[in-house]
């Protein structure tokens, strides 16, 4: 029996086990669910180390050391130490050390959050909203952006003019949510078709 055949049967069993939840919660589903969590966690670790830690830390260290670029090589000790410090979170007495790598990553997030959010998102979005009012669509964009922002402005009670503007904002928000909902449904249905195609084409060759 080839490994592909075993794999197909295994994949079909797991697929049916997950689908069995549509009837009700059952041991077969719970078993497949736990296998899914275990495999996904293992895969995430291997993925992160194969694509991030190993090439950026170990290989980079070797390359810089080989090129006698000692500064670039030894500066990698800093992220390595911060990474090890992060692991100390599991040891109750040394948990406080993990605050250092956490602070470093929070600092990166805050620094980039401030600059990247303004330059990369906020300003381009504002520039694109400021269009000449030469057609109805541009006017709708103005109204949509302002009313949506008003809806999310909670420092003032939604009464009177603010309330009216916020209610118009709901219309735009609902259209946006509806569109996102439509795309989500389509994505899920397309996955469902994919699974049925696997079951009735790859596993049981009923569809040609």
């Amino acid at each position: 029996m080839s490994s592909d055949l075993i794999g197909t049967w295994l994949a079909a069993t797991l697929t049916l086990a997950i689908f069995s939840f549509l009837y009700r919660d059952n041991p077969l589903y719970r078993a497949a669910e736990h296998v899914y969590v275990g495999i996904s966690a293992g895969f995430a670790v291997i993925y992160a180390w194969a694509f991030d830690v190993y090439p950026m830390l170990v290989e980079s260290f070797k390359v810089h050391l080989g090129a006698k670029n000692y500064f670039e090589a030894y500066i990698l000790i800093i992220p390595a130490l911060l990474g090890v410090a992060m692991l100390l979170r599991s040891i109750p007495k040394l948990t406080w050390i993990s605050r250092w790598p956490i602070s470093f990553t929070i600092g990166i997030g805050a620094g980039l959050g401030l600059i990247a959010a303004i330059q990369g998102y906020l300003l381009p979005q504002i520039f694109d909203t400021l269009r000449p009012l030469i057609n109805i669509n541009n006017a709708i964009i103005y109204i949509g952006v302002i009313t949506t922002l008003t809806y999310f402005y909670f420092s003032r009670e939604h009464k009177g003019l603010t309330g009216t503007v916020a209610r118009i904002g709901i219309i735009f928000i609902m259209v946006a949510f509806g569109a996102s909902f439509g795309y989500t449904v389509m994505a899920r249905v397309s996955l469902l078709i994919g699974r049925f195609y696997f079951l009735f084409h790859d596993w049981l060759p009923l569809i040609r």
Binding site: I6, L10, L14, T15, I18, L22, H34, G38, I39, A41, G42, F43, V45, I46, A50, D52, P79, A80, L82, M86, R89, W96, S98, R99, W100, S103, F104, I106, G107, I108, A110, G111, L114, I118, L122, Q125, I126, I140, Y142, G144, V145, T148, L149, Y151, F152, G169, I171, I173, M174, V175, A176, F177, G178, A179, G182, V185, M186, R188, G194, R195
Partner: protein
């Protein structure tokens, strides 16, 4: 110093260096952003190990104590360490765990992909159930949501064109003066979908995005200035 002040200074210093690097893109600040992002990825790799330790510890305790559902925990731990074993084995034997003929890729193809795809496909049923409940509310908001969702779906799939062809024929039967070919070409659902996505959806998305960006900026400032310190609690 080591417990609170040091980490606060580190946050301030790291963020400040990144801000300086943005305004002075020359040595020694020029490559700071890329370097810090690499370090961020390295530290993230270690946090995966932390998560692994937490998950394995939780389920191993359940197995040892024979708590309710310990057999499922055994399955989880076995699949977790099995994946790690095949990943490391493939890495050593085939130079990369992602080599196409490596056993790790077999796991990926025949276990991870089916499990993940089926898990998300199952959500299709629950999303329909949620939609039914939402649309039963019968107010303006729910109606708009329904119309937008239907237009997007019909505008994206071939059946939308077929339905519109049928409607065009019907219009042509009622008003014989109309040109059937022009009506068919109009593709109402696709046109409505394009307009919905380009104008009202974009406007609302932009409003939400600007709000999020302003919130993010405010939070970043609070963190940099040390007003927000919840990340220091352990």
């Amino acid at each position: 110093m080591l417990y609170r002040t040091g980490p606060l200074i580190l946050v301030f210093g790291t963020a400040l260096l990144l801000i300086i690097a943005f305004f002075i893109p020359h040595k020694p600040f020029g490559d700071l952003e890329a370097r810090f992002l690499n370090w961020y990825a390295i530290i993230s790799g270690f946090t995966f190990l932390l998560g692994l330790d937490s998950l394995a510890r939780h389920h191993l305790i359940k197995i040892v104590r024979r708590e309710k559902g310990w057999f499922y925990s055994l399955l989880l731990v076995t699949s977790l360490f099995g994946t790690l074993f095949w990943g490391l084995y493939s890495w050593i034997r085939y130079a990369s765990p992602f080599a196409l003929n490596a056993p790790f890729m077999w796991l990926y193809k025949f276990m991870i992909i089916p499990l993940q795809a089926t898990m998300f496909a199952t959500l299709a049923f629950f999303i329909f159930s949620a939609a039914y409940r939402a649309f039963r509310v019968r107010n303006l908001a729910a109606t708009l949501l329904l119309i937008a969702a239907c237009m997007v779906m019909l505008g994206n799939v071939p059946i939308g064109s077929s339905i519109w062809a049928g409607i065009s024929w019907l219009i042509h039967q009622i008003f014989p003066n109309t040109n059937l070919e022009i009506l068919k070409r109009w593709e109402l659902f696709a046109a409505a979908k394009d307009w919905l996505m380009a104008i009202p959806q974009a406007a609302a998305g932009r409003g939400i995005g600007i709000g999020l960006a302003l919130g993010g900026i405010a939070m970043s400032l609070r963190i940099i200035l040390g007003i927000e310190r919840t990340y220091l609690s352990s």
